[in-house]
């Protein structure tokens, strides 16, 4: 140890002069959580987040999803749970800021409403993606399966009425 101490005087130090020298994170580092362009606003991430850092709020005809980096524990559960690759943990770790707005990451989606009861069905993007993903699936009646202006309860009531009308006509 004595020899090493003496020789270290002449060697380059081990420390990096961060922030004057860069110190990048490796690939796969779990850094700042951000919504991507693929987010549909389904809210699955908010349901599984252990720290309850992601909130889903419906305001008027927009749905706002917000992730609070002060609460986020950077575990990556949202990334693993999201079916659409809509949220990801980037490799950014320099999040210190004086501006409170940068502590949150928000994304807004347009909502579609039920013509029957006026309640929220889901976001337009979510509906489009669902329709996109089932368009090649073999269904008997594609038109009936993709009614996009009724929520599930109103849809059930609508089909139940159709079926009962068909049965009463038939009899």
């Amino acid at each position: 140890m004595e020899i090493e101490a003496f020789l270290s005087l002449f060697k380059k130090p081990f420390t990096v002069k961060y922030p004057f020298e860069p110190s990048p994170a490796p690939e796969g580092f779990r850094g700042r959580t951000e919504f991507t362009d693929d987010c549909v606003g389904c809210g699955a991430c908010a349901a599984v987040c252990p720290a309850e850092a992601i909130t889903v709020r419906d305001e008027g005809d927009t749905r706002v999803l917000k992730v609070d980096h002060g609460l986020c524990i950077f575990c990556g559960t949202c990334q693993d749970t999201c079916p659409w690759e809509g949220i990801e943990l980037t490799e950014k770790f320099e999040m210190a800021t004086l501006d409170k707005e940068t502590v949150y990451d928000e994304v807004e989606h347009e909502l579609i409403f039920c013509e029957g009861c006026g309640g929220v069905i889901t976001t337009r993007k979510h509906m489009e993606k669902i329709q996109e993903s089932i368009k090649d699936v073999g269904l008997i009646d594609k038109d009936r399966a993709t009614i996009e202006n009724l929520c599930t309860s109103c849809k059930r009531r609508h089909f139940a009425k159709e079926i009962s009308e068909a049965m009463s006509l038939g009899s």
Binding site: M1, E4, F14, P26, E27, G28, F29, P50, T77, L89
Partner: protein, 361 residues
């Protein structure tokens, strides 16, 4: 001159707050009162409000350096309740990260012990080599400390072919440097003057006070969950249990440093073993946890970690009880300190490798 010197809650020798009231006559210690609970955060209560999957990430944050111990013990308990057997590759993956954590935790301890007895240089050198291990953990798991590696039923990520060569290179460096540090600890006369013969814990007291981990093994009391009740894949790899007899601070230092070398051996065998197992087979899906209760045991760097989980069939556990190793070891502290001088108190306290956030949860 009778004095009461209070170590803590804030003290430079302790990384975390606990109170030790040391009664001295002159410089000799005659009595020690220990008070714990300064770091209590109510994690067990909070665990009842989160689902099993979320609880893994919660118990991970009981502590920063034991952050593989608590999730593995917890998931082992839950997997036992659910009655699932996780794939063999997942056991090896968990074991690799667990042993990497053991290496970096023991290196951390060695650095802190060196700093407390005054030789700051060794502290800087040891922590420099610890950086190589932490870099590997960051590359493999995505973070230096909270790995988020476990899920109920296996692991979340895999160790692929490209991760292994840099890992083995880092392990070579660590092995070489650990042998150098063992030599430094044993040969440097001022270090020997401080560590040899101080903080003695006899074997009978170690057994009666139920100490665990390197604290017990250095006193000749051979307990090691990896050998007594093999979990993960410890029964499939070959390693030695380090047991020494003196029970003083130097013995505890030697046990930890030698265990680093054993961990390197384990990781090398594990990386060879996973080459033969299919990549990607790292978890089995677990749909629901039936009612039941079980216990998960794991050998953390500080000793045996013990999780008791009770499920009542809902999404949330009914009870999670955590017993961390330092909670057992801290009861041996008065015996160790009795009769020594005041100058030995900080290093004897630090030699049980205290993790007070695990103790208080």
């Amino acid at each position: 001159m009778d004095m009461v010197v209070q170590f803590g809650p804030q003290h430079l020798a302790l990384a975390e707050p606990e109170r030790f009231k040391v009664h001295t006559e002159g410089e000799k210690v005659v009595d020690v009162e220990v008070a714990v609970g300064y770091n209590h955060r109510g994690i067990e209560k909070l665990a009842e409000r989160k689902t099993f999957e979320q609880d893994i990430l919660l118990v991970e944050r009981i502590c920063g350096i034991c952050s593989m111990s608590h999730p593995v013990a917890f998931t082992q308990a839950v997997e036992d309740i659910a009655g699932v057997d996780i794939p063999e590759r997942a056991n090896y993956l968990r074991m690799i990260i667990a042993e990497l954590e053991r290496i970096h935790s023991h290196l951390l301890w060695a650095g802190i012990a060196a700093e407390i007895i005054g030789i700051e240089t060794l502290f800087m050198y040891i922590w420099k080599d610890r950086e190589y291990v932490l870099d590997q953990l960051e590359i493999i798991t995505g973070n230096r400390n909270h790995y988020a590696w476990n899920t109920i039923g296996g692991c979340r990520k895999d160790i692929t072919e490209k991760h292994i060569p840099p890992l083995l290179t880092a392990l070579e460096v660590v092995e070489r440097r650990t042998e150098y540090y063992i030599d430094a600890f044993l040969r440097n006369r001022t270090i020997r003057a401080r560590l040899v013969g101080t903080g003695i814990l006899p074997r009978e007291d170690a057994r009666k006070l139920c100490t665990v981990g390197p604290t017990a093994r250095a006193s000749g009391y051979a307990v090691d969950v990896r050998k007594d009740d093999p979990h993960l894949a410890y029964d499939k790899v070959d390693f030695a249990e380090i047991v020494l007899g003196e029970g003083d601070n130097m013995a505890r230092a030697k046990v930890r440093l030698l265990e680093i070398l054993e961990s390197v051996k384990i990781i090398r065998q594990a990386t060879k073993a996973i080459k033969g197992l299919p990549e990607g087979d790292i978890a089995v899906p677990v749909a629901e946890i039936p009612p039941g209760e079980s216990v998960g045991r794991y050998e953390a760097p500080r000793g045996e970690v013990f999780h008791y989980v009770k499920s009542n069939g809902t999404f949330y556990p009914e009870r999670v009880k955590v017993r961390a190793p330092t909670y057992s070891n801290i009861q041996a502290v008065p015996t160790m300190l009795m009769g020594d001088t005041l100058a030995d108190v900080p290093i004897s306290l630090a030699s049980i490798d205290p993790c007070f956030c695990c103790t208080d949860r």
